[in-house]
């Protein structure tokens, strides 16, 4: 089982979610986050006081998938999240030791 953590542009989120659902992935956790890589922020001015805002809004998707689905999921995300410009985001993969369904104690890939 692998965990995919994808940080993407908020404007691409709807397309990414649709593409993942099309390949059969329905479980995910989504958070609104702020951050930046190499993308620069912007300056806001309120009554003459300048504020540099370099934490930009992004969406973070987390999903734990059976090994068989991982490559398809990555392809779907890469295809729909990409705009080609700085700020598109990143994907991180990690191995998951165990998954448990709270309702009935299913374990392993059965729990996904």
């Amino acid at each position: 089982m692998m965990k995919i953590e994808a940080i993407i542009q908020p404007s691409r989120f709807a397309s990414v979610k649709d593409a993942l659902q099309e390949i059969g992935i329905e479980g995910m956790t989504v958070t609104e986050v702020r951050g930046h890589g190499r993308q620069k922020g912007h300056t806001e001015i309120y009554r003459g006081r300048e504020y540099t805002v370099d934490l930009l809004p992004k969406m973070k998707l987390e999903m734990v998938l059976p090994d068989a689905l991982v490559e398809k999921a990555l392809a779907a995300i890469m295809k729909t999240a990409k705009t080609g410009m700085i700020g598109d985001g990143k994907i991180f993969l990690s191995k998951i030791d165990e998954a448990i369904r709270i309702r009935n104690d299913d374990r392993g890939e059965n729990a996904l």
């Binding site: 806001e44 001015i45 309120y46 009554r47 003459g48 006081r49 504020y51």
Partner: protein, 410 residues
């Protein structure tokens, strides 16, 4: 008139509450709103007991008397000295709304660091020792600055440029200096947490101001109409002036700038509304928009005082320029306040009026400066005025009121 009174109250709640509420950080939203609301309650009771009488009773040069304490003698019968065509209770309750909003304006300078207990005590004392004398001197019978009732230095102040805006604005500056800067100011970013709230508040202020200025005609007549128009025109011109200044400086006009500009124009036209024509109103608005922009953007940065929500920059400065320009632009054709055929202001040839305005302005400044320093010291000894550093960091909503403005997870 009752509608005008309601409009003026609306300017405090929710107008000012929202305007200020949106400008502070989230953790201090309820606290600033609570201060306005508390004044709606506190000043009302004080007015009923003794406030109205101190402002409009008696005939002394500086302060009223106790003849109308507990509103004795105030009923349906008009008070011919002030408003001969409306019940005195209407006049009384209308004036109350001005007494409420004036101290509320000061809360803009002390935002995010003043103790609630200290604030309440200070405002109660300030109302008695600063607002009441100024209101009496400018509007009360026998008042030494009263233009309609033969004061020694008749100061034209139709709806409160000196009584409301200079008094609160200058007091605000004193408070800001006494309380010193907010922790982390100016290095730490403290942007407004919701300009949407401020926007709504500003629009309520604009509309409410028709009650404030046009209502000050105290009758439904041509003068009220003239004041309404002057008010509206000044707000518009000032909004454009501030926005133009911003566009030139920053390359963009901001929403906060536009609404701040409008408020500055409304402040400046307050003393002038029932004395000047529509074209001068545009000029007063434009000048105020530009001046207040400069006060807030440049002067505050130069002198580095933390007038958190620009109460001095907008009300103190706007009120001062408005009061002085009233002397320039007042015309008998708009309001023959000195009698038929008698010149009123500079445009009528009576340039001495500007001198009278200056006297009124200086007295308002003096009362506000001295009164506020003395009262702050007294209140500091009784309850304290500034919250502790830990309380300030945690936020006033939690520490002063035990509440959070937004429980988004609820």
């Amino acid at each position: 008139m009752l509608v005008s009174a309601a409009l003026v109250l609306m300017m405090t709640g929710p107008g000012l509450a929202l305007f200020y509420g949106g400008l502070v950080r989230r953790k201090n939203t309820l606290a600033i709103m609570m201060q306005s609301f508390a004044l709606m309650a506190l000043i009302t009771v004080m007015w009923a007991l003794v406030g109205y009488s101190l402002c409009f009773g008696g005939n002394g040069p500086v302060i009223g008397g106790f003849e109308h304490a507990f509103l004795r003698g105030v009923g349906a019968e008009p008070n011919a000295d002030y408003a001969g065509t409306i019940p005195q209770t209407t006049f009384m309750v209308y004036q109350l709304m001005f007494a409420i909003i004036t101290p509320a304006l000061i809360t803009g300078a002390t935002a995010e660091r003043m103790k609630f207990s200290g604030s309440i005590l200070f405002m109660a004392l300030w109302f008695v020792f600063v607002y009441a004398p100024l209101a009496h001197m400018v509007w009360g019978k026998g008042g030494f600055l009263n233009a309609s009732l033969g004061g020694r230095f008749p100061t034209l102040d139709f709806a409160g440029g000196t009584v409301v805006h200079i008094s609160s604005g200058v007091s605000a500056l004193v408070c800001a200096l006494y309380l010193r800067k907010r922790t982390g100011y100016p290095q730490q970013p403290m942007p407004p947490h919701s300009l949407v709230l401020s926007f709504i508040g500003a629009c309520l202020l604009w509309v409410g101001w028709f009650g404030f200025n046009a209502g000050s005609a105290l009758a439904s007549n041509g003068l009220a109409s003239s004041a309404f128009v002057a008010t509206h025109f000044a707000a518009a011109a000032a909004a454009l002036a501030w926005s133009a200044a911003e566009w030139l400086k920053n390359g963009r006009a901001s929403a906060l700038g536009a609404i701040s500009g409008a408020v500055a124009g409304l402040v400046a036209i307050t003393p002038a509304a029932g004395f000047v024509g529509p074209m001068p109103a545009l000029a007063i608005g434009a000048l105020a928009g530009g001046l207040c922009y400069w006060m807030v953007i440049r002067v505050k940065a130069i002198f580095k005082y933390d007038d958190a929500l620009d109460a001095f920059g907008v009300h103190g400065a706007g009120g001062t320029i408005g009061a002085l320009l009233t002397g320039v632009f007042a015309q008998q054709v708009i309001n023959p306040i000195y009698g038929a055929g008698k010149p009123v202001g500079g445009l009528d040839g009576h340039w001495g009026q500007v001198g009278n305005q200056l006297v009124g302005v200086l007295i308002a400044w003096a009362f506000a400066l001295v009164g506020t320093i003395v009262l702050l010291k007294i209140v500091d000894m009784i309850t304290g005025v500034r919250v502790s550093a830990e309380e300030e960091v945690e936020g006033l909503d939690i520490t002063q009121h035990g509440e959070e403005a937004y429980n988004l997870e609820a």
